[in-house]
């Protein structure tokens, strides 16, 4: 058997095995009269390894034998294979986040006062793990509760240059009286991934949101909150 053939067979075996295979195990898969020498097999494996160079896979030796694996460089694409569809955040979490954004710095107790219900530790933990919220200081009252504020990551996620771009309370009041269709527009904004086909409608809607969300005077070029 020539080396090209051996290489072919070795590749097929290693890809089918889905586990590391030792040199001896490889050789044992050949019939007695066709079995290559160890040196031949090793040369074939080396040739295979060289052939993989520049591809997305590589031949490696691990404790239990030879294995073909995906290169680290391919991880960004490959790891998404096992991504789980995200759940949705609870109403309580969104309200908490909104209060922190609008009323920062704000303590957990103050959030609870406004919401009228206690704020679970897991919500605060989730918001901080997501890096949207962080402790910015402590209130000088008994117990010195932590005060929370939003982060730069929060602004980035929502594509805000600064918190100014959030609608003010007055504007929100107008919004709620303006009526259904506007709210529909707002909630229709196609965000991220799945809607490349909506490209045409997106800019317009975005412009609309910015109009409503920006306080007229705060919308200067030198908007102060762009730095952090």
């Amino acid at each position: 058997m020539d080396i090209k053939r051996l290489k072919q067979i070795a590749e097929a075996i290693l890809l089918a095995a889905a586990r590391p295979v030792t040199l001896d195990q490889l050789l044992a898969l050949f019939g007695e009269n066709e079995r290559p020498e160890r040196a031949e097999m090793r040369a074939a494996l080396e040739a295979l390894e060289a052939e993989f160079d520049g591809r997305g896979i590589e031949l490696v030796q691990v404790a239990s034998g030879y294995r073909i694996q995906v290169t680290d460089e391919m991880q960004p694409w490959v790891s998404r294979l096992w991504e789980e569809k995200p759940a949705r955040y609870s109403r309580a979490l969104l309200e908490t986040l909104a209060l922190i954004a609008y009323r920062q710095p704000i303590t957990r107790g103050e959030i609870e006062d406004v919401r009228g219900v206690s704020v679970s530790t897991s919500i605060m933990k989730t918001l901080q793990e997501r890096e949207w919220v962080r402790v910015v200081g402590h209130r000088e009252v008994p117990g010195h509760p932590a005060m929370y504020g939003t982060t730069k990551e929060f602004l980035d996620y929502f594509s805000l240059k600064s918190l100014d771009e959030l609608p003010t309370l007055a504007e929100l009041r107008d919004l709620s009286t303006i009526g259904e269709e506007l709210q529909l527009d707002l909630s229709d904004i196609p965000e991220t991934q799945l809607a490349p086909a909506n490209d045409d409608s997106e800019p317009e809607q975005d412009a609309e949101v910015i109009d409503m969300a920006q306080a007229p005077d705060a919308a200067e070029d030198d908007s102060p909150a762009t730095l952090h």
């Binding site: 790891s79 918190l163 609608p167 949101v209 730095l227």
Partner: protein, 285 residues
């Protein structure tokens, strides 16, 4: 109909050639049709080899190279019934379907024998039509089963190629939130808290609130920070004003202390002492 071929043909299924006629269970086997002889220990195997009466019939027809469209009913019936009787003699449990088929064959045979007026013959169904239809229908699926068996099969003919992919942990994606959802949540909570009438939030622009957070983060309780350092000139006048308002608001809320050693000396700020209790948290990361 080809009656006289039958004796020449032997069934070529399981091991029919092995034993001599005479020794089977000590019985005389002279009465059995010679072409049907099967050793008794092979009978069960024989029966298993057929998927039912249609399969057995097909075998009898194919064995003699007969056209399925022109079955010699009398001869086939005779052979079929011989098999059935043989199996019954051997006390093999026979599926009821085999007996039903025997009855059907007998009925067709009798109808074939009935004289029919020539004029009607064209129109009237051949008594064998239904049997022929069923045999053909069965045969095509018998063939289809063999074809399916020939298809390349995973793990038998072809194999999934697989390369190691590192740690295959399921990545849980964080949920997506859209800005309108966040705003709606705020509207709800404010409405619920009957705070719509209040001006509290409106009074300070949001940028001041935000700046309060960032100023708080930069100052420490343990040492003073130069007041000037809180300002970033590149932000322009608006930025300076916002920072100044933020410092004033923080001071009003007793969250930071402002000190000046003497007139025109640099102003310093530090976090209120309360923050010292947990300085590492207060200063953030």
């Amino acid at each position: 109909m080809s009656e006289d071929q039958s004796c020449a043909v032997n069934p070529d299924i399981p091991t029919q050639e092995s034993l001599p006629l005479a020794v089977v269970q000590g019985q005389s086997l002279d009465s059995l049709p010679k072409d049907l002889y099967i050793p008794p220990d092979a009978l069960e195997v024989f029966l298993d080899a057929f998927e039912g009466p249609l399969d057995l019939l097909l075998y009898l027809i194919r064995k003699e190279n007969l056209d399925i469209l022109d079955i010699p009913i009398a001869e086939i019936t005779r052979q079929y019934v011989d098999y059935i009787e043989l199996m019954q003699n051997m006390r093999l449990e026979l599926a009821a379907e085999y007996l039903v088929m025997a009855a059907m064959l007998a009925e067709i045979k009798s109808r074939m024998l009935l004289p029919r007026p020539a004029a009607v013959e064209e129109d009237e169904d051949d008594p064998r039509a239904e049997l022929v239809r069923r045999l053909q229908e069965y045969e095509r699926f018998k063939q289809a089963a063999e074809d399916v068996d020939e298809l390349p099969r995973m793990g038998r003919d072809v194999f999934q190629a697989e390369a190691g992919a590192g740690n295959r942990q399921v990545v849980k994606l964080p949920p997506e939130v859209q800005l309108p959802d966040l705003i709606a949540a705020f509207q709800d909570v404010i409405k619920r808290a009957s705070m719509y009438a209040h001006h509290h939030v409106q009074l300070e622009s949001l940028s001041v609130r935000e700046r309060m957070s960032s100023v708080l983060e930069r100052i420490r309780a343990s040492h003073f920070t130069r007041f000037d350092d809180l300002f970033t000139l590149e932000e322009g006048r608006m930025g300076v004003v916002v920072t100044f308002l933020a410092v004033l608001e923080l001071s009003k809320e007793s969250l930071l202390e402002i000190t000046q050693a003497e007139a025109f000396a640099p102003i310093h700020v530090k976090a209120a002492d309360s923050a010292q209790a947990v300085p590492e948290q207060a200063t953030g990361t």
